[in-house]
Structures are given as structure tokens and as C-alpha cells.
Amino acid sequence: MQAAVQAHQLAKRYGAVEAVRGIDLDVAPGEAFGFLGPNGAGKSTTLAMLTTLTAPSAGSARVGGYDVVNERDAVRRHIGLVFQETTLDGYLSAEQNLRFHAELHGLSKVAVAGRMRSLMQTMGLWERRGALVRTYSGGMKRRLEIVRALLHAPRVLFLDEPTLGLDPQARAAIWAHLRTLREREQVTVFMTTHYLDEAECCDRIAIVDDGRIVVEGAPHALKTQIGHDRIRLSTVDDGVARSALKARFGLDAKPEDDGLVFAVQDGEHFVPRLCTGLGVPIRRVSVDRPTLDDVFLAHTGTTLRDAQASAHERARSAPMGRPR
């Protein structure tokens, strides 16, 4: 079956800066695909190329079956876009914003009316359709942008950091709505994010760092690949426990503030063996499954949080920021 999004060695260079260094993608129709990485990793630039907003410096990409360079208008007709920053006209009502979009996309007036109503009802915006958008909250604006992006029944919905800057409640609401709409519309979702929990909601993610995809797969599979759970152990004598772990289980434990930390294949099955075989009375034991941050760490050598922090650092030291 034809891929919804396909890229081959896609790259973008701004002067001396290589924002994207050759990305390969293959997203199946109906899939929810996440692009996870810190700011400045090249996520937004990749999105801009896939959505025809900026031309690639090298490589090629097809979206919805159309080439992003040679069949620009066809691509545009078959994608929906929600940008990081709001792109609504605050001085028009929600309904007027949607009508504007419908006209630009050449949709039939009759079809639009029904579709507008059902999408707005799903998103809980129907009652406020006549209000000026500037009176909307951040979460409502984002929901309206999703409605707008789906109005012309696109094949692929692109979301650039869809819940950036929203409070947890609004984020949860957006996610619930997106899930409903995804099923109903059978649309492929392609999103960028630097939130781990947001990436968890995707069928498949690609972790990007420094303009490259470092690893790609289902969140669960990626975490399983890490191959180990993290065990935190606190005993009456951590020193003795540490040598016992080495001697009896062949494990290297690292002392931390309130106990020992070490990694094992299957934590849940290891705990019973640990309790009977350690020989030192245990006070507390906990098993942490790997998170996507562990996956990120394993493939990039730094945690997402640290990468994010150093990206902020870079942004501060470079007054003009990254070219967009």
C-alpha cells in the first residue's frame, strides 16, 4: 500500500547550518507517527519540508502520494496543518475563520456546513462558534485549529508541537479529542513533540537529534529494546548488599542517595529472587520500566531534558535564534 508520508535522504541547509541531515521516513496510512526530540533537532524544519512550506536542499519526499516539490498544490490539498504558533485571525469569529479556510481550499459550501458542525461539536466548540477567536482560551484555539486542519478531509494531519504551552488539563482534552477524530476520520497523524507523554500516544516514533533520526519504532518496542528495568534497592546495609549483588547475581550496583540502583533484564521476575537470595534484609525495593527518556539516553548519550536545556542555552547565546 502507498505510504502516507515517505522521505528519502531529506535534508535542509541554511547557509552553513545543516538543520536536517538526511532523513528517511515511511509512515503508513492511518498511523500516528511522532517525531520526538529537543528543540533545534530539526523537527520543525522537516515538517516545513513535508508540508511544502520550505524546499528541501537535498533528497525527496512524497506526502499522500504526491511529491512535495513538483506537486505542491496536490500535497497541500491533501494535508491538514496545525502550527506551533496560532495561525487564526483573532478579529474574525471561529466560524469566519473556518469559512475562510473552506473558500481557500475550494470546498463546496453545502458540504462544509455539515462538516463544520460535526467537527466543532466533537471538539466542544459549537456553542462558541460565533465568538471572536481572540476571546478563546489557548486550548480552544488549538482545538479550533485542529477542526480547521481537518475541514477539507486531509489524508495526513501534521501537528507541530500540538500541546505546547497548554496546561495539563487542556493537553489531556486535546489528546482525547485527537484520538476520537483520528478513528472517525481515518487520518494519518504526523506530529512533532518534545513531550515524552505525548510521544507515548503515537503508534510509532522516530527519535531525532541534531538533524538525524537516531532510532525509530513503536514506543513499547523501543523501551523493550533498552532491555532492562531499573531497580532501586534500600537495605539495612547497602555496602554488604552491593557486594552480595556482585557475588550472587553478577550485578554492578551504583550507590545513590538512599540506596542502590542497578539494571536487570526483567525486573518483576527478579524481585522475588532478590528477596530470597540477597541475604541482607531489604527495606524497600522498586522496579522502574524504561521510559522514552531512557531510550533517548541510550541512543544519544544524553537525556531529553538535558538536550532540551542545552538547546535553550544555545538559543540564548545566539541572539537571532535558528533561521526558520
Binding site: A48, D73, G90, Y91, G106
Partner: protein
């Protein structure tokens, strides 16, 4: 049908009700134009400023200057009136063109840029929108002036409105040519300030152009606004006042040619703006 079939059916290229692009572009022009008008109508402070400023020129500056002339106070005010109408047009149409910069700053531009329509269509919609907003504003000032006693024949109204529309189109197109290159609203406002006054003073809006020193006379003949004011004056006051009209080496330029010049200027500015806009990477 299986689930796979359903998905496959969805992703087969669907027949589209709009095969020809021009029709889509036409709808784009229309909706962009409508949005400009909606926004202009909603922007009450701008409406008011655009109305007050010309009236200030007419009733304060005009009345003040009239005290310096012997006998012809009313005549001076009447002479200035077309220039005052143009002032309203300038103000409104330039602000309307500025909405392009505003759209860019507040993100709405992206909504237009990712639509499957040509960028020229977007600019044309903006130009027609700014022209319409300017015409409405000019017409309001015209109505106020007529109510205040500026002589005007009813029969010349359609011609006047057409002339105002063409003038507003030219001004908006010039504004758009500036706006496509500018990224921040304050820079646009500064740019307009820089241009507005020289263009206005050199257009014959406030004083007759006959008898100016040669270099000034040249400047006025090169100013497109000159050919926007003169038709208004000749149509409005042709019967009552001695109006010479713009002359090229002693040849009086016909009103129709003047209007055509302004329209051509607007068209050229718009084409140039569209070219720049097209090369723009979001």
C-alpha cells in the same frame, strides 16, 4: 469490504470537483477581499481616524489658510477638497496593505501560504480589499464635503467613485509592494510615514501645480498620486473652478489617460509584489 479495502479506497486519488485552478484562485481572491472588508469594518478606531484626519485638513487647515487669501477663502477650500478625499483614501488603503505585515507577524499568513492557491491570488484579493475599503472611506469624506457645501453634480458621482476606486487600488498596490518585504509592523508604519507626506505634498492635493519651480514641476509629474488627484478635481470642480489639469509640454493630459496611468501603476506594483511574494520562503 474489508478494513484494508476501506483504507485503500480512502487513499485512492479522489475525483475533485475543481479541476481547473483558476476557479479556485478566483474564490481565494474573493474570500481574501471579503476578509479585508470585514476587518476594516470592525476596526472602528481606524475608521474614525481616517475620517477625522481629512476633515481636519478641510475645516481647520483649509479655514486657516483661507484667511491668508483675499476673497477666495471658499475657493481655496473647494480646491483642496479632492486632495482631502485622497488623504482619506491614502490613509485607509495603506493601513489595509499593512495587514499583510500584520498577518505575517500574527501567524495568519501561514494559513494562506499553505492553501492550494497561487500567492498572486492572495495579493490580488488584498489589493481589491484595500481598494474597496479606501473607496468606502473616500466616499464618506466626499459625502461629508458635499453636505458641507462643496459643489457637486449628482451626475458626476459614478465617475468620481470610479476615480477614487482606481486611486485606492494604486495606493494599496504600492503599500503591498512595501509590505511583502517587511516583517514587522513598526517598520511598515515608518516606511509609510517616510513615503506618505512627500507623495502627498508633491501631488497637487493642497496647491495648484502650475507655476512651480521646474525641478518641483518635474517631481510632481513623476508622482503617480498626481494623476490620482487631478481627475478627481477636474470631475468634481470642472464646471465651477478654473482647473488647468496636468500638462506635458503644454499638452493637457486627458482624465481617462490619467486614470489609466494610475491603474497601470497599480497593476505594475502588484505584479512586482506578487513576484517577490512568490519567492518568499514562508
Amino acid at each position: 469490504m474489508t478494513a484494508i479495502d476501506l483504507v485503500a479506497a480512502r487513499h485512492r486519488p479522489r475525483p475533485r470537483p475543481r479541476p481547473a485552478l483558476p476557479r479556485g484562485d478566483l474564490r481565494a481572491v474573493k474570500i481574501v477581499w471579503q476578509r479585508e472588508l470585514m476587518r476594516a469594518a470592525r476596526d472602528k478606531p481606524r475608521l474614525l481616524t481616517a475620517l477625522l484626519q481629512p476633515l481636519l485638513y478641510l475645516f481647520v487647515l483649509g479655514a486657516g489658510m483661507a484667511t491668508m487669501t483675499v476673497g477666495g477663502g471658499d475657493a481655496l477650500r473647494t480646491f483642496m477638497f479632492p486632495g482631502v478625499v485622497l488623504m482619506a483614501v491614502l490613509f485607509t488603503s495603506f493601513s489595509s496593505a499593512g495587514s499583510l505585515v500584520w498577518d505575517r507577524e500574527f501567524g495568519f499568513m501561514r494559513e494562506m501560504l499553505v492553501a492550494p492557491v497561487s500567492r498572486g491570488a492572495i495579493l490580488l484579493g488584498k489589493a481589491l480589499g484595500g481598494a474597496s475599503a479606501g473607496t468606502v472611506q473616500g466616499a464618506i469624506v466626499l459625502a461629508v464635503g458635499i453636505a458641507a457645501g462643496v459643489p457637486c453634480r449628482l451626475a458626476s458621482l459614478p465617475a468620481l467613485l470610479a476615480e477614487i476606486y482606481v486611486a485606492a487600488f494604486g495606493v494599496t498596490a504600492l503599500g503591498l509592494l512595501l509590505a511583502v518585504r517587511i516583517r514587522a509592523m513598526p517598520s511598515f508604519v515608518g516606511m509609510v510615514q517616510l513615503l506618505l507626506m512627500p507623495l502627498y505634498f508633491l501631488s497637487g492635493a493642497l496647491f495648484p501645480l502650475s507655476g512651480l519651480p521646474p525641478w518641483l514641476a518635474w517631481a510632481t509629474r513623476l508622482n503617480p498620486l498626481t494623476y490620482a488627484v487631478d481627475p478627481l478635481r477636474r470631475t468634481l470642480l470642472g464646471d465651477t473652478l478654473q482647473v488647468a489639469g496636468i500638462q506635458w509640454h503644454g499638452w493637457t493630459v486627458p482624465v481617462l489617460l490619467e486614470v489609466a496611468l494610475v491603474a497601470a501603476f497599480g497593476g505594475a506594483a502588484l505584479a512586482l509584489a506578487a513576484r517577490r511574494f512568490d519567492r518568499d520562503d514562508s
